[in-house]
């Protein structure tokens, strides 16, 4: 937590400020010192570059169909080969990755934010706030997420993927919010929160100024790991036709198509599956290295 800009300017005038906050730099340092963190970050950056800059160098767009080449193996013309429809595997894979990455990132952000706010309020206020939040999250845990998403899938067609992201996020936040709730209850007992209370700081301000920032390490790590969960869930749903709807493609729909032709046309399956695995692996490595960077005392990994 640093000064707001207005205060910062004021303090600089008063000449009190000296030296820069170092926590971010410290964590970044620890993160990049670990081989795992470096590798994960590099691979992830590469994947992003590939997904968003790759289409610029590819001769084909994901909508193009090459009617001279159906189900052809990789060649200089089609780097990853072609599908049965004549679509270029490289182009559609990149398109699918774009979608999967965006969906994964957004769903993770939304769900973690939801988890943070719901968990912190439940843990801080307890009483009926807590009971309501716990009950709702229990209900969502009990409802098979897959089922709800699948049933709602017709709504996600025709460019309605943001709705899909939100629905997905709605089923990702519960476990984290329980963790946040538990940690809020113990953080609340910590003396700096007590001190703020006895100083007369209003509760909502305490939550946003003290509680959530102090859980930020958990939240950042969790958001990272949620990216991979979201990507995996999206893939599985789309595999069965319940996620991203045609004409849009995602890694899941591509894998579903590819698995049918994989035996005699391996390129339709392995490139997509491989990129998916590498992406998720990189995200997990980053999350794990971040966890270590935030908390060097506990060398744990999921």
């Amino acid at each position: 937590m640093t000064l707001s800009e207005e205060e910062l300017a004021e303090e600089l005038r008063d000449g009190v400020m000296a030296g820069a906050p170092s926590r971010t730099r410290l964590i970044a340092g620890r993160f990049f010192r670990s081989g795992q963190g470096r590798l994960g970050f590099a691979v992830l950056a590469l994947m992003f570059l590939l997904a968003f800059a790759g289409p610029l160098v590819s001769p084909w767009s994901y909508l193009d169909k090459d009617f001279t080449a159906f189900l052809q193996p990789p060649s200089p013309g089609h780097w990853f080969g072609t599908l049965q429809t004549g679509a270029d595997v490289f182009a559609v894979t990149l398109r699918g990755m774009q979608k999967s990455l965006v969906v994964g990132l957004l769903a993770a952000l939304v769900s973690t934010a939801l988890a943070a706010v719901a968990g912190a309020f439940a843990g801080y206020f307890l009483g009926w706030t807590d009971r309501t939040v716990t009950w709702v999250s229990d209900l969502l845990l009990v409802l098979p997420a897959f089922l709800v998403l699948a049933i709602m899938s017709p709504l996600f067609g025709s460019g309605q993927w943001p709705l899909f992201v939100i629905t997905l996020a709605l089923f990702l936040w519960m476990v984290t919010s329980k963790v946040v709730r538990g940690m809020t209850i113990s953080t609340k007992e910590r003396e700096f929160i007590q001190a703020a209370r006895y100083m007369g700081v209003p509760p909502v301000r305490i939550i946003f100024r003290h509680v959530i920032p102090n859980l930020s390490s958990l939240l950042i790590v969790d958001a990272t790991l949620n990216v991979s969960t979201a990507i995996l869930t999206e893939t599985s749903l789309s595999y069965f036709g319940f996620g991203i709807q045609p004409p849009d493609v995602s890694l899941g729909t591509l894998i579903a198509d590819g698995s049918r032709t994989a035996v005699y046309a391996p390129w339709t399956f392995w490139f997509v599956a491989g990129l998916l695995v590498v992406t998720v692996l990189a995200v997990n490595l980053v999350g794990d290295a971040l966890r270590d960077a935030f908390d060097p005392s506990s060398k744990r990994a999921r």
């Binding site: 409802l143 098979p144 709504l155 899941g252």
Partner: protein, 328 residues
């Protein structure tokens, strides 16, 4: 204790009711059983379709709440209604529960045992070769979605059948072959051949999860004072680890085991669907495709009950294993 349990069960019952009702209402609104009749040739007359839908309590021209009331009344009497095909949902699910159960039990037992073993070994020699290897492998496994893993297994098995064994060793579809007359052992072998791949696809992920979890729990207690006390008593490191660290670290893992069991009843969906096992999960997907509102609702109800039973079982197990939690 009794009062507490009663209150908790009541809370669970409310959750189940709300969850199942939500699932039913959602399914009844979003799914369209009428469309099942649209592609039939010859096209049945509208009045016939209506009559049939009404008989199945699926007619979208009946008000939603009325359909819900009919459904709920049936469920209260233990009747989940009929599927779009007209067969009772109860019979179908009863058959399928067994299938899913067999798959899940085997997969979970394999997965958790191997996972716990791997995790404990990895923690005992932190940063040793085994720790590094198992960490690396579990990272990779956790990055592979089940749908990809299952397909990879099928591809690998097909390849192995063709090039290594030269005959069908791994069978990739269904629970058993039909029309076999090879006696008991032949049947058993056939079932085993069908069982290998789905079990592997289910347990590989679980091994990864359990080994990570066990490793972390174990590392948490390795530095604990009581392990030091055990060594100060004169126990060797190995004995102190097994008797004091492992025993304590198993508590959360056992709890997690029970919980996983509940979620797996529908969590095996992808495995079942891809390997053609006629279990609950497969039926869930099929029923959504078939607009089968009653089956969807019934499976949701079962899933909700399974999750809650598992979480109760997890808590009871926790209490049984940990004297600190036990109510005296």
């Amino acid at each position: 204790m009794a009062g507490f349990l009663a209150r908790r069960l009541l809370n669970y019952a409310v959750l189940v009711v709300v969850a199942a009702s939500l699932a039913y209402l959602l399914a009844a609104t979003a799914l369209d059983p009428r469309s099942n009749y649209a592609d039939r040739t010859p096209k049945p007359p509208a009045a016939v379709v209506d009559a049939q839908l009404t008989a199945l309590n699926l007619n979208d021209r009946t008000p939603l709440l009325q359909r819900y009331a009919t459904w709920a009344a049936g469920v209260l009497h233990g009747d989940f209604g009929r599927s779009v095909g007209g067969t009772p949902v109860n019979d179908d699910l009863r058959r399928r529960v067994g299938v899913t159960f067999r798959l899940v039990v085997l997969g979970l037992v394999c997965g958790s045992l191997l996972g716990v073993l791997a995790g404990a070994l990895a923690a005992a020699r932190q940063y040793g070769w085994f720790d590094r290897l198992s960490t690396g492998l579990s990272f990779v496994v956790l990055a592979v979605p089940v749908v990809v893993l299952a397909n990879m297994l099928i591809l690998a098995a097909t390849w192995a059948n063709e090039h290594v064994f030269g005959r069908q060793v791994f069978l990739v579809s269904g629970e058993h072959s039909d029309g076999l007359d090879t006696g008991f052992w032949g049947h058993a072998l056939d079932r085993l051949q069908h069982l290998v791949l789905p079990t592997v696809s289910l347990s590989v992920g679980l091994i990864a999860v359990f080994s990570r979890y066990q490793r972390n729990m174990m590392l948490d207690v390795l530095g604990a004072d009581y392990v030091r006390t055990a060594m100060a008593k004169g126990l060797s490191r190995g004995k102190a680890l097994i008797r004091h660290a492992l025993r304590t670290a198993l508590i959360p893992v056992a709890t997690y085991f029970a919980f996983t069991f509940g979620t797996l009843l529908t969590g095996a969906t992808f495995t079942e669907k891809i390997f053609g096992w006629h279990g609950l999960g497969e039926q869930l997907i099929n029923s959504i495709f078939r607009n089968d509102v009653n089956t969807v609702a019934a499976i949701s109800l079962l899933a909700a009950i399974a999750v809650l039973c598992a979480s109760l079982a997890a808590d009871l197990l926790h209490a049984a294993l940990d004297p600190r939690v036990r109510a005296r």
